[in-house]
């Protein structure tokens, strides 16, 4: 990643904290998934991967966590 990772992480964490909390601990989960997507994009830049499918998997996975944890509330 071109940008200094600490700086990107700081800004991303701030952006995550501005998102509505869907369940306790959501911000941590959201940050983890966004970071994973950015990592996948970085990996894709270095060698071609099935990036769309991989991003789709991450979005689905977070969706399932939201679905499950919202039901438990």
């Amino acid at each position: 990643m071109a940008v200094d990772q600490r700086k990107l992480i700081t800004v991303m964490k701030q952006s995550v904290s501005d998102i509505d909390l869907r369940y306790p601990g959501y911000h941590k989960d959201l940050f983890d998934f966004v970071a994973q997507i950015v990592f996948l994009e970085r990996e894709h830049e270095q060698r071609a991967t099935q990036i769309k499918n991989k991003v789709g998997d991450k979005v689905s996975a977070l969706g399932q966590v939201i679905y499950k944890k919202s039901k438990d509330l």
Partner: protein, 706 residues
């Protein structure tokens, strides 16, 4: 932080065998490579970028368009030239201080066919990592290199003083300059990566929205479920009410029985006419009760007749026949009943298709059947309805063969109900007369007992009416619930899927929100920070320039990626026409240094001929600022650039070497290096020293020679 330790060039054009060690002293981060024109400065920069970034870093962007071998290579000795560049560098974790040292070796070969032509061999690259156990090869070299030193940063950290002017040059259209500046900003801030991530998440989101639309009647399903829940709630309320009414009714009935018993006992204790009255009343009431039961039974039979399918046939024969014809066709075409899901389910369960293909978990064949199962399952509900209708149509036709007229039966049933009603009215009147006679006897006790009985009867009737009404409502609710119940499983499946898709969309929206906000922040506030820093650096560089310093007031990087300069009265100056060469170079360097500093990304700044065309004061300001702000600074300087900044080089240079081109003897060099070929030679002379190798002739047109 990335630091370059050393580089070794073999047969890379002029650099036949050149070793360079770079300063890593944090207090003296500057490495000075003194080199006059045509001694290998640009070749060194190209060699370094080739080693670290590959063939795309070569001029012309491809390997075949750029010669690597020395131009005066003696073909008679060897027609194949092997070129190799080795660079040792380290990735340093600034927090822990932990350092991982890498060695990269990039090599290629060229076969010389004649004086002008050669064939290019493949480029090979190997990356080694130093570990406590020794040196080990690193897999996936390109990926690791890209992560350590992204290729997009090449033009920011490896700067050719002349090419860097492209950020503000007049020869390009505004849009081109803007794009160039924007690309540099985006590369260093990682905005391209975030934009790509946003683009992919957006595509995923659109697919999810498509799925939600496909599930379609989402709101309809929710409305239906809401209705189901309301009906369930109403059903419970009616059951509670029924329980309460029945409890009241039981209590009232007990009171009524007691009142009745009291009245009967009082009549039996009386005269003969009292006793007769009691028996007459008992008989009439019994008859009335029978008549009421009879009416209920007849009503029930009547309702059954109305719902009888044969009745439908008699009322709308043409429509029923048409519908039956269509349904019959569907059955003969095997559209109904829907047997496909069962077949597929059996196949999926057994792990084998009916054609014999194995359906292992995760296989493509299984995925196809699962999708087909999903699609056919969605057709279950309408096909089940059609099957039921078909069965009903068959029943109607079977029953229509019966000779009895359904309407005739209905008429006869209704007449019977009316007769029972009439009989009931007569009996009610009879009971009423008998009760009136009891009240009319003028005996206080009997009158009171009859009145109490009448009150309890009234209450009983009211409660019965309430119970009946409640029961009717309950039946209606249960009927509606039963109707929805049939769709419930299918609905729940759809709703679960819909809710799942909605959760996914929510996830996509939130991820996009984070990516967009991060990009916006980096784009906006960070660009403002770069602008302020660039202005600070630029003004500190040119303040000593009496000409420019008096005119230039401010330099700004706009959010549209324009580098703008302002003079007195905030008047806008054109960098390419209103600034002199020194200021343009200073502005370019200020932009790059600001970008690097604000981004927080620390890598070596390698600058080829940065001080050209600058006055002494500006050169001093540039060297001072760059040396104090870069984590590692490598400057290729000509003698003329060094003039006036020697003291600063003394202060900040941890390593200094001098390049000499052997071909410059005898025109520029005092002594013959005796190599017999064109090549760059390196000596340990710093910016103040000259040895036998690098000693140059006075008046050789090299400015600043000692």
């Amino acid at each position: 932080m990335i630091q370059i330790h050393a580089a070794h060039f073999h047969n890379f054009r002029l650099l036949r065998d050149v070793k360079v060690t770079f300063s890593r002293d944090p207090n003296k981060p500057l490495t000075v490579i003194r080199a006059e024109n045509d001694t290998g400065k640009t070749t060194l920069l190209t060699g370094l970028t080739w080693a670290l970034f590959g063939d795309k870093a070569l001029p012309g962007d491809k390997r075949s368009s750029f010669r690597l071998h020395p131009i005066d290579w003696d073909r008679t000795q060897s027609s194949t030239v092997k070129t190799r560049v080795e660079v040792t560098f380290a990735a340093v974790d600034e927090e822990s201080g932990e350092e991982v040292v890498y060695e990269i070796e990039r090599s290629s070969s060229e076969s010389l066919i004649d004086e002008d032509n050669y064939e290019v061999g493949p480029t090979n690259v190997a990356l080694l990592r130093h570990t406590p156990q020794g040196v080990e090869p690193v897999d996936n070299t390109s990926a690791i290199l890209e992560s350590l030193l992204p290729s997009s940063l090449k033009d920011i950290f490896f700067i050719d003083g002349d090419r860097a002017l492209a950020f503000i040059e007049a020869t390009d259209l505004e849009r081109v300059k803007r794009d160039r500046v924007g690309k540099a900003v985006r590369a260093l801030l990682g905005l391209d990566l975030l934009d790509k991530a946003s683009g992919h998440v957006q595509i995923v989101r659109q697919e999810i929205v498509g799925n939600i639309k496909k599930l379609g009647a989402g709101t309809e399903i929710e409305r239906l479920l809401e209705r189901y829940e309301k009906l369930e709630s109403t059903k419970q309320e009616l059951l509670d009410k029924e329980s309460s009414i029945l409890s009241d009714l039981e209590a009232t009935d007990q009171r009524w029985r007691a009142a009745r018993q009291n009245l009967d006992e009082a009549l039996l204790a009386g005269a003969q006419n009292h006793k007769k009255l009691k028996y007459d009343l008992e008989r009439s009431e019994s008859n009335l009760e029978s008549a009421r039961k009879d009416e209920i039974e007849k009503y029930q039979r009547h309702r059954n007749l109305i719902g009888f399918s044969r009745m439908l046939f008699e009322l709308a024969p043409k429509h029923i026949q048409t519908a039956a014809q269509i349904l019959g066709d569907l059955e003969s075409k095997k559209v109904i009943p829907n047997v496909l899901p069962t077949v597929i389910e059996d196949s999926l369960k057994s792990g084998f298709c009916i054609c014999g293909t194995e359906l292992s978990v995760g296989s493509k064949q299984r995925a196809v059947l699962e999708r087909l199962h999903e699609e056919t399952h969605q057709l279950d509900e309408p096909k089940e309805r059609l099957r039921e209708l078909n069965e009903s149509a068959k029943r109607i036709f079977r029953s229509s063969s019966n000779d009895d007229s359904a309407i005739g039966s209905l008429r006869s049933s209704y007449s019977s109900i009316l007769e029972t009603k009439k009989r009931q009215t007569e009996l009610e009147s009879e009971v009423g007369d008998l009760r009136a006679r009891i009240r009319g006897m003028g005996e206080f006790n009997l009158t009171e007992l009859e009145r109490t009985l009448a009150q309890e009867e009234k209450e009983k009737n009211r409660l019965r009416f309430e119970a009946g009404k409640n029961d009717q409502e309950l039946k209606e609710v249960i009927k509606q619930l039963s109707s929805i119940e049939r769709e419930r499983t299918e609905l729940e499946r759809k709703v679960a899927k819909l809710t799942g898709e909605r959760s996914k969309e929510a996830a996509a929206v939130d991820i996009l929100g984070v990516l967009t906000a991060t990009t916006e922040y980096l784009k906006g506030e960070t660009i403002d920070q770069i602008s302020d820093k660039m202005n600070e650096i630029f003004l500190s560089m040119i303040v000593a320039d009496t000409d420019s310093g008096a005119v230039i007031r401010k330099a700004v990087l706009t959010r549209d990626n324009d580098i703008e300069v302002f003079g007195p009265g905030n008047r806008r100056l054109e960098p390419d026409t209103d600034l002199n060469g020194a200021s343009r170079r200073a502005l370019t360097l200020a932009f790059i240094l600001a970008l690097v500093e604000v981004s927080g990304y620390r890598a070596p700044n390698i600058i080829d001929t940065p001080l050209g065309m600058m006055g002494t004061e500006v050169r001093q300001a540039v060297v001072r600022y760059a040396a104090t702000h870069a984590s590692q600074l490598i400057m290729f300087l000509t003698g003329s650039e060094i003039v006036g900044v020697e003291d600063l080089l003394d202060q900040y240079a941890g390593e200094s070497i001098t390049f000499t081109n052997s071909a410059h003897f005898p025109t520029k060099l005092v002594n013959d290096p005796r190599t017999g070929r064109m090549e760059t030679l390196v000596c340990r002379c710093n910016h103040r020293q000259r040895c036998e190798l690098c000693k140059r002739r006075v008046g050789s047109l090299d400015f600043g020679d000692n």
